[in-house]
Amino acid sequence: MLHIKCPHCGMRSQNEFSYGGDASVKRPELNKEISDEEWDNFVYNRKSLRGKHLELWQHLFGCRQWIKVERDTATHEIFNTYKADEEIT
């Protein structure tokens, strides 16, 4: 069970969170003309990386905030966590 640092609440066990997928995916703006390919990439296509991955989690049974977690998908090491609107450098 992972131990995730919620940037709002502190260290919590994985069972308080739900996984939300790749955090680097950006939703296309509303009312913007985009190609089928771009839309497909947004809705379906994910890289399934091995290694460092920026992902979304929601602190569902806690503060209910969506957060970003930088995690190694192979070793499960968590390098850092960020608030939803935090700049990631």
Partner: protein
Amino acid sequence: MSQKFRLENGGLINRDKKLSFKFNGKTYYGYEGDTLASALIANGVHLIGRSFKYHRPRGFFGAGVDEPYAIVQLYRNNETEPNIKATEQELFEGLEAKSVNCWPSVNFDIGAINNFLKIFLPAGFYYKTFMWPKSFWYRVYEPFIRKAAGLGVASTKHDKERYEHKYEYCDLLIAGSGPSGLASAYAAAKNGARVILAEDKPRFGGSLLTSDVNIGNQSGEDWANSIISELKEMPNVVVKNRSQVFGYYDHNMLVMSEKVSDHLPKTKKHHPKQRLWYIRAKEVLISSGSIERPLVFGNNDTPGVMLSSAAKEYLKVYGVLVGKNPLVFTNNDSGYETAIEFKKNGVNPIILDSRVNPQSEIIDEAINLGIKIKFSHVVVAAQGYKKVSSADIAKISDDKKQLGTIENIKCDCICVSGFWTPTIHLASQSGNKTKFKEEIDAFVPGTSKQKETTLGAANGIFTLEETLKDSFIAGQDLSKKITNNDNKISFPNVVEKKSSQHDKFWCVPLPKGKSYKRFLDFQNDVAVSDIEIALKEGYRSIEHVKRYTTLGMATDQGKTSNLNGLQLVSDIENKVVPAVGHTTFRPPYTPISIGAIVGREVGKHSKPTRKSPMHSWHEKNNAVFVDAGVWLRPRYYKQGSETLFEASKREAKNVRTNVGVCDVTTLGKIDIKGPDAAELLNRVYTNAWLKLPVGKARYGVMLREDGIVMDDGTTTRISENHYHMTTTTAQAANVLSHLEYYLQLVWPELNVNVVSTTEQWAGAAIAGPKSRKLLEKLFPNNDVSNEGLPFMGYMESELFGVKARIFRISFSGELAYEVNVESDNGLFMWEKIIELGQELQVQPYGTEALSTLRIEMGHVAGSELDGRTISYDTSLEGLISKKKDFIGKRSLNREAFTSSDRQKIVGVVPLDKKTSIPEGSHLVKDAQAPLPNKKLGHISASCWSVEHDNPFSLAILKDGKNMIGEKLFVMSPLKNKVIPVEIVSSHYVDPKGERVRS
């Protein structure tokens, strides 16, 4: 029956408390503090079971967790449990156990014929043999294997025992209470660290209980006892026996199984049987010790052949002799310690040492005691079937390849020692890449992966002094980092005997002309010859060899067999062991009962139960409940001897003719506030929301980004910047997360707050032609006329002094309202509705009638919005705005979504107007067509139309738009039904929707 192998004195058992127990129906006696194994051996019982494949007789091989043989079926307090190790099960008064894997009895076992057919059961036998013919699998092979296989029988009864889960945090978790565990725990505890010390056995002390050492002028055992009593008194220390740390998971979380009551005849009141601890530790100290390795020789699985450390433990802990004429076969000094213990207790052992001329303090002591020692000698084969009766021994050449003349000597047990294997399971589970340590011919942990440190024998350190020193320092240093305390403790003086180097020899060659089975894996009957076959057949990876031969795959997970297997593979392949590598260690280290894993989450506790504030009224009025997600909802209210069908028909009919009331508290409710609330709704729903006036409700459909319908419901504008959203019962939680996702991550610029208010409001749907009359009675001061409160209107009012919200919305298709009051007033509201509705013939209706009403009206619900349908499929495309963008809109022009023969919702009526149509049935054109018959659609929901008094179903049908009037067939292979049907409009009742507006 006397305990003729019990010593007069000695051991750590309580001789004042005699216990009776039964094994295979026969009564025996033991003492408090015995294990089932030690008590049986004390009674001279050595035959305990039969092996898995060949049904060879099985005795005892170890004295603890590593035991591969002595697995029994346990009977305790009218329950039974399989896969219990007799070496771990503590004796209690009235214990009953039976042998497994034998029929009709352990003494006369028919399956033992496999032993004589063993030439036909080599490695991979099952893979090779049962492949063909295919039809034989179910009829012949499987029943045969089922009968022959298995290590006991699982109980089919409900387990009444209680199992608990516990979550704990600590600074240091220490697994194992041997010398390294005790020393590190003591040092860390003195530094103020929060320590959990776990020991899987009932007694603390590990190897100190059996070794002849002296620490700080005390015996090892006394030192262990004094440290433990001191630790127990410290408030920052938790000391747990009978507790096995069996799994090392991510981020330093370990799981420990505590056997709270398994050693008692009956679990005490309010106690659990077992407790599973989830421990998040800052640092983990693995002091799990080591397990003695067997030596491999002919018939080395005969009862009476056992680990020399086990023989010593039976002697020193239980006061039991495993034999009165023992042979000790060793490649290192450990065998001598066992022999010395025998000698001290008046038994004359013979030592066979494979080494040429070893010298050490221990060997000198054995010589001085007059023990007979034969150097450069090995056991070639054990003789005897159900018990060792003699051993064929021989001199072995210095290169270990040639055997001298074979001589047979009488003995009643053979105690073997092939040196020690560190227990590296936990370290390996943590992700630690292990390394091979040449001096000890075994793997030890490499660089720490998580926050784990391995100490003592588990780390390949076999001298007490070094172990204690390392452990004191580790405990002190690690705790200092956490607590910043630096309390030095003095290091005790250690006296131990020095050992000499072990012999790198482990497998006795076969004598010429003999084909003895030399076993590696004792539980799965994997012999040297099986590994040889696997390698000859081309298996190379140790992982493949393991699976093909089943080496190390039994319930003991190869604790005694893995390393010898690796040695053999490396010898044959002419590789060094590290190049062969070892198989992956995975949790659990020992078998864990399913009950412990499930914990308290059984039956009603497997999920929370949510009840509406009106639940007690429903109960009193004969409601039959149904699970709706985690909610309990009335399915129908039973009158007299009514069936579900009759009751739901009555309730639905009453809604269509009079007025009904339904508890709709379970609907998801989300409060939405903020200046951008309308904009959020406009992006979330497919229809337009910017112009909804205050005091009006609107029906909306929301999509996922892939265009599939996610949920539907009404949202009401309460005031300028305040909306009340309803969701379906099932999707309530998902919709809230969905809104939070977009607000927090995608459109953080929107100034909106959302919060779940599902539990704050109790809801009642009042539906039927007389519902307005009922509303007039409930709210005499409000104008609830069609003008005062039109369809999709909203009003705030008071229900006899209670704050209420009135929505004019309808799911039943009738003139209907939903009244919400604060949850605490729910029952009051409900009772008022029932009371004032008496003269209007009001009746409560449950989910079954609710379904009937919506199905015949063609209103979609979860069975149509099933995660596969788009708005068009469910005839909700009219709600798609062309002017604005919204979540999922871009997906709607996907080719499949716009295809001209796209599936669509239709109504289905059986031609005979009688036969009910099973939900989930398929619609086909030709009922006689050969299989696979092409499916045109499926029945999503079925009811008995109370309006038309015949069965009616909804279906999602390919090209449904153009299928109205077609005759098709409904096929349900599950129910073996073929029903000719006609396709009709999904709006079977009031197609123009006039009633809701009346």
